[in-house]
């Protein structure tokens, strides 16, 4: 390793040629913090069977609503189940639903958005009008409506929140596609006889990747929050599977005598959502350095 480089610059030295953006990202403190937090949650979710001290579902009638002590670091719930273990296993649901919903919303939304963007103005307008109708509902309301039809369950809530995200992605992609379609190289491609599908896949889509990725990570935070909301209302993954939302729902009845039951899962939700928010904020600074901070 060359000895003349300042320690802080070593990383830059290796990165600067291949990827300037990464080095900008690495200097963004909050974004790194967010990334580290997200990695911690992901690690906990993957390693849940090894990390959890107890089976999250095993009940113990002799030890119900126990205060935190050395055996049960966060105490036990009303069935005597270890709260820490449930909290650790709950991270799986939050992450699966959050990331899964975004993948569904991203895929469908991008397809709809690009199609609307490259279609004739009349067709595009009509598609977007339907999207705008969906966007006019608050997340919770639309989420409740989808869950009423789909019923509870892990797959269903992922699909439900995914559907919620479709209109958001479609709106975003449509706007960007419209501005890309006006560029000269698209004109050139058309003049050369490039088909609409070729233009969409080869020329429009690659230009959308970075934006979709940045906003996608921001909306992962939203998806995780919406999952917690719906789960708290009882529309999410059904008990006894632990989710942070249904743990709060269960615990809130015992708020007076055992506040930790509902207060600790909330901290886990806030931690995870904040992780993705911080990370996305940092990504946005790189993608668009002109935004002074963030909106």
């Amino acid at each position: 390793m060359p000895g003349s480089i300042h320690p802080y610059r070593i990383l830059d030295y290796f990165l600067s040629k291949q990827n300037r953006r990464l080095s900008i990202f690495l200097r963004n403190g909050p974004a790194i913090l967010g990334l580290v937090m997200a990695i911690i949650v992901t690690f906990v979710a993957i390693m849940a069977p090894l990390l959890a001290p107890y089976d999250p579902l095993s009940q113990n009638i002799d030890n119900m609503i126990a205060s935190p002590d050395e055996n049960h670091l966060l105490g036990t719930d009303r069935f005597g189940r270890d709260l820490l273990s449930r909290l650790i296993w709950g991270s799986r649901v939050s992450l699966c639903v959050g990331v899964g919903a975004i993948l569904i919303g991203m895929t469908l939304g991008t397809i709809i958005g690009i199609l609307a963007g490259v279609s004739s103005r009349r067709v595009g307008d009509r598609i977007m009008r339907v999207v705008d109708v969906l966007l006019s509902f608050p997340d919770e309301i639309l989420g409740i409506m989808f869950m009423v039809i789909l019923g509870p369950g892990l797959i269903n809530i992922t699909v439900g929140i995914g559907l919620l995200m479709v209109s958001r992605f479609a709106r975003l992609v449509y706007g960007s596609t419209l501005s890309i379609v006006q560029r000269q190289y698209i004109e050139a491609c058309k003049a050369l006889g490039g088909s609409r599908i070729r233009i969409m896949i080869r020329h429009v889509l690659p230009n959308l990747y970075s934006e979709i990725f940045v906003i996608g990570s921001l909306w992962t935070a939203t998806a995780i929050r919406v999952e917690a909301n719906l789960s708290f209302l009882g529309f999410g993954v059904a008990p006894p599977t632990p989710t942070w939302g249904n743990m709060i729902r269960d615990g809130v009845i015992h708020l007076v005598e055992a506040p930790w039951l509902s207060l600790s899962p909330g901290i886990a939700i806030a931690f995870t959502v904040l992780a993705f928010n911080l990370f996305a904020d940092g990504l946005r600074d790189i993608a668009d350095p002109r935004t002074l901070g963030s909106i």
Binding site: F137, V148, F232, L255, V256, V273, N277, S294
Partner: protein, 313 residues
């Protein structure tokens, strides 16, 4: 201007119609027969059939659709499948609770968020800004219902400072306000997080404009510069996103009404879900979109009014 207002109102109609159609279709393809849900699986077939006929659930779907849309036009939201009461009268009973709650959140959020955003922008890059940025991001990350539970526990249960259940009575304004305090504060904090961020970003944008430099070089005092020159322009984007935030607040109010056991639209909605009361459910969901669309139109009109550079055509 009047022409613009009329145009915006007319543009709202197809959106509303679209929303109503969508909700109708989605709710009606839901599994589960409301008549069976209401009367129980062991009810005799003829009783279930009679119930279907009575509530028009037996008619062809398009007839039910036309009746639903026709009713909406006349302001008739149908009759609850459970109580047989008109949905509209139930809505009117609880609407004031939801509106006061949302307004409380909006007012607290704006009055606290705008000044904080200005401070953050003025101290750009320095500790107050960093702290404010972090706090507002945290505010966005904590789900509203959880924030409600936290306030309920620490202020309501531990300090016993404010009532935590129910909404009080309108005839006793002081008691009502006391009941409103915690739920309103919860929504207010959520709103504050959003408003602080947008005010800061918008203020930073304006402060880098040429006319601010000109004003500064003319010797305008810092106070006048910020309050008179910068703030006015910085508030325009704040106003426009406030409508978006109000719609977010309406969604959060559902959660807050559940946490604090307040009567309101959200509580009514969840009750309808539990009872599989499809008529009430679809009417309420459409009502939420009516509010959202109205807020959007009102904002556009307000926006056109405060910003002369927007053409009315």
């Amino acid at each position: 201007m009047i022409k613009y207002i009329a145009k915006r109102l007319i543009q709202g109609i197809p959106v509303l119609l679209g929303a109503a159609t969508l909700v109708f279709l989605i709710i009606r393809v839901a599994p589960g027969d409301p008549a069976v849900a209401m009367l129980g699986a062991y009810a005799p077939e003829e009783v279930i059939q009679a119930y279907r006929v009575r509530y028009g659930l037996d008619d062809p779907l398009w007839e039910q659709y036309l009746r639903f849309i026709g009713g909406l036009v006349k302001g008739d939201l149908g009759k609850s499948l459970i109580t047989g009461m008109p949905v509209a009268s139930q809505v009117i009973n609880v609407l004031p609770y939801t509106i006061t709650l949302t307004l409380a959140g909006l007012i607290i959020g704006l009055f606290a968020g705008v000044p904080l955003g200005i401070v953050a922008a003025v101290k750009h890059g320095r500790p107050p800004d960093t702290i404010m940025r972090f706090l507002s991001l945290t505010g966005l990350s904590v789900p509203s219902f959880y924030l409600g539970i936290v306030l309920l526990y620490f202020i309501g249960i531990r300090l016993r400072a404010f009532p935590i259940v129910g909404a009080g009575d309108f005839s006793q304004p002081l008691g009502y306000l006391k009941h409103l305090f915690l739920p309103g504060l919860t929504l207010g904090i959520v709103m504050m997080a959003y408003v602080t961020r947008i005010t800061r970003a918008s203020m930073l944008n304006v402060l880098s404009d040429d006319y601010i430099r000109t004003a500064r070089s003319k010797g305008v005092t810092r106070r006048t510069l910020l309050m008179k020159h910068a703030l006015r322009n910085a508030l325009i984007p704040v106003v426009s996103v406030t409508s978006l935030y109000t719609i977010i607040l309406m969604g959060s109010s559902v959660m807050i009404e559940i946490v604090f056991s307040r009567p309101g639209l959200g509580k009514l909605l969840l009750q309808a879900v539990e009872q599989r009361d499809y008529i009430t459910l679809e009417s309420l969901i459409v009502l939420y979109s009516v509010f959202a669309i109205t807020i959007n139109i009102a904002t556009d009109i307000f926006y056109a009014w405060i910003d002369p550079s927007i053409s009315y055509s």
